[in-house]
């Protein structure tokens, strides 16, 4: 393999992992506070739609980002009304989010843009451009490794670096601040938090709000950086993959980052191995590589490679009277 290939695989890995990271961190915040989030997929999809629609209509990147975050936060709050306020089933509510998003984005897309559910492409100026697109070529003169790194790591847009910077930020938020301590406590033992005089509901609402903002960013990344418009079901299971990644990363930001990078790498490799012959003459089973993230997560959950322990109070609505 030559360095151009390595550079491009590395670049694809970094790119494909970005929405996973944003989404996995979103799910992580919510699940650490004890609220199951099956609806990541739906929130990301609706965020992508909002970014595409706002970007195409108003032609402004900040407006598109804000619209995506606002819409995803609204869905998060709907989830909150259902499961924090009214103590409904969190899994069912998440499933509802996904189905509503899958249907409503297309309905609104057709009604507003008449393009079969797509949004018109956003202008190049609105899209988030790589900061240093020819980093690979520029750095190649300093040696092959520099070229690969330039191509793979330094050629991305600001949103990509922002997503990666969020990993230590969320880590610090969870493990370095008083808010984080309380958030983790509320996911493990809400009675204790309540007894200490801290509002369980307020912490969960805060977590859900942050969750929505990150989901919105993940969705807008798909529209503003990866492709140029919204199309039907464009998240294509990424929300579920992010959910798998956060579980595979054992509900820890750094673990989730590792899982996202691994899943992104598998995705990048699977695209390139399409139709490639193995030494035996058979084709590489691309579907096996695509299914690998889910298989790995199941194996981890089954406790065969270490143990993934979910927050204790995950999925349980909190009732004060008990």
């Amino acid at each position: 393999m030559d360095e151009a290939l390595w550079g491009s695989v590395l670049a694809s890995t970094v790119r494909l992992s970005t929405p996973l990271i944003l989404c996995a961190l979103a799910g992580l915040l919510s699940e650490r506070s004890g609220v199951v989030d099956i609806g990541l997929e739906g929130k990301m999809l609706f965020g992508a739609f909002a970014a595409g629609a706002a970007g195409a209509v108003w032609g402004s990147t900040p407006v598109a980002l804000l619209a995506a975050m606002a819409v995803a936060v609204a869905l998060s709050w709907l989830h909150g009304v259902a499961c924090v306020l009214y103590r409904g089933d969190q899994v069912v509510s998440g499933v509802a989010m996904n189905i509503i998003a899958a249907g409503l984005t297309v309905v609104l897309g057709i009604a507003w843009f008449h393009q079969g559910g797509q949004t018109p492409p956003v202008a190049t100026a609105v899209r988030i451009q790589p900061l240093w697109p020819d980093a690979g070529q520029t750095l190649a003169q300093f040696g092959r490794l520099a070229g690969v790194l330039g191509d793979g790591v330094l050629s991305h847009s600001s949103l990509v670096y922002f997503a990666y910077a969020l990993v230590p930020a969320v880590w610090w938020l969870l493990f370095g601040t008083r808010f984080g301590l309380r958030l983790r406590a509320v996911g493990e033992n809400p009675q204790m938090v309540d007894a200490a005089g801290v509002s369980v509901a307020r912490l969960r609402w805060t977590a859900l709000t942050l969750n929505g903002m990150l989901c919105g960013l993940a969705g807008s990344y798909l529209v503003l950086a990866q492709s140029a418009n919204f199309s039907h079901n464009m998240t294509a299971g990424r929300g579920f993959m992010a959910l798998a990644a956060l579980i595979f990363g054992r509900w820890h930001p750094v673990g989730a980052l590792g899982a996202c990078l691994l899943f992104g790498f598998l995705d990048a490799v699977a695209i390139r191995l399409q139709g490639v012959q193995m030494p035996g003459g058979a084709e590489v089973p691309v579907q096996a590589i695509q299914a690998l993230p889910y298989v790995l997560t199941v194996v981890l959950l089954a406790g065969f490679i270490g143990k993934a322990v979910a927050p204790q109070a995950l999925g349980r609505p909190y009732t004060k009277e008990r």
Binding site: A82, V92, S93, I99, G103, V107, Q287, A302
Partner: protein, 371 residues
């Protein structure tokens, strides 16, 4: 999913689902109005498309057949305290089982042997597919919601791999298996009604609809009139108490998931043996998720599930018809409505129940107090 003692039983069982459906329909109507169409007109066209013609009715019942299977699958697991989101993947495996049996033996076997063989194979493969998450939940503590989601993706990858690399006839472009021989096809409603001299339009409705009714009856008898069903519900109500009563809760958990999977697998019979006559990619098309909505609407009772399945069948068929009549209307509207129904008939049911209880108290205070 009881909503507490604030509602009298009749209201909890009958009124609440209807009101939840009403709220969901209102939310759907609001969106329809928002995108500039007349909700009343759409609703009328939808009902006409679903029930107005023999052909429409056949399609409605055909969709309902699939939803009965997935709805029963979700509810059996639910009665054991498990949330099976894996109906989608289990249904795929059911179709694969039926299809593999048909590809292997349909040229040699007559229909009276072939069709039962397909039935058994579809149920067995889907059962095995669901039993793995069941085992992992019971014995390894892995949460069944997450593992069944993962198994959905694994199933669809497996299906794509098998169809693209092995089952597709050489040189064929379409990603589907070879067609089965005639013995592996279930008689359609047109065939059956033709035998008794009724001229019925051609449609995908087939003999599986009877299988669906049998399955609903079977689930009812199993859950409420057998020891196994009692054990299953006991584990669902309280695993600890069931364990003290001498019920092996782990084994029951696995049994519930296996049974749930087998029911979802029957979708394969309706789609593969009843309609397409070959294995096609993605023949489930979200029916596994619709099963969740159906089970919630039907309050996890087989009779309720049959009624809710007809409702959803009508929505899907009627929605397809409206899409022809009303420009700008698509079936995604129905998908959205399905999401609203899931949201309001379960997650938001406490909100609706609280409002309803207040309303009932205003209307007749004496009746409500002993609910």
């Amino acid at each position: 999913m009881s909503t507490g003692a604030t509602l009298p039983r009749w209201a909890d069982l009958l009124l609440l689902p209807v009101v939840c459906l009403g709220v969901a329909l209102l939310a759907g109507a609001a969106v329809v109005a928002l995108v500039g169409q007349n909700p009343g007109e759409v609703m009328a066209a939808l009902v006409r498309g679903a029930f107005g013609t023999p052909r429409g009715l056949s399609y409605t019942l055909y969709y309902a057949t699939t939803f009965v299977f997935t709805g029963l699958a979700v509810s059996v697991a639910f009665h054991a305290g498990l949330f099976n989101i894996g109906g989608e993947g289990q249904a795929l495996m059911g179709g694969l089982g039926a299809g593999l049996a048909a590809l292997a033996w349909s040229a040699a076997l007559p229909a009276y042997a072939m069709l039962p063989a397909m039935l058994v194979c579809s149920m067995l493969l889907a059962m095995a597919w669901a039993a793995v998450p069941g085992y992992l939940q019971a014995y390894r503590g892995s949460h069944v919601v997450i593992t069944t989601i993962m198994f959905n993706f694994i199933a669809s990858s497996l299906m794509a791999y098998l169809l693209v690399n092995h089952l597709r006839p050489r040189g064929a472009m379409a990603v589907e298996s070879a067609a089965f021989a005639e013995s592996a096809r279930l008689p359609s409603a047109r065939d059956v009604l033709g035998w008794i001299g009724v001229d019925w339009p051609a449609s995908p409705l087939n003999a599986s609809v009877l299988l669906a009714l049998l399955a609903a009856l079977g689930v009812y008898l199993f859950l409420w009139h057998t020891r196994g069903g009692y054990r299953l519900r006991a584990v669902g109500a309280s695993p600890g108490a069931a364990e003290y009563a001498g019920i092996r809760s782990r084994r029951t958990t696995m049994l519930a998931m296996a049974l749930s999977g087998a029911l979802a697998g029957l979708v394969g019979i309706n789609e593969v043996a009843g309609v397409s006559g070959k294995i096609v990619l993605d023949f489930v098309g979200g029916a596994g998720f619709t099963g969740i909505a159906v089970a919630l609407m039907g309050r996890n009772h087989p009779l309720g599930i049959v009624l809710a399945s007809v409702l959803f069948g009508a929505l899907f068929q009627g929605g397809a018809e409206v899409a022809f009549d009303v420009p700008g209307f698509t079936r995604d509207m129905v998908v959205m409505l399905q999401g609203f129904i899931v949201l309001f008939s379960s997650a938001m049911t406490y909100l609706v129940a609280a409002l309803l209880a207040r309303l009932l108290r205003l209307l007749g205070p004496a009746k409500v107090r002993h609910g």
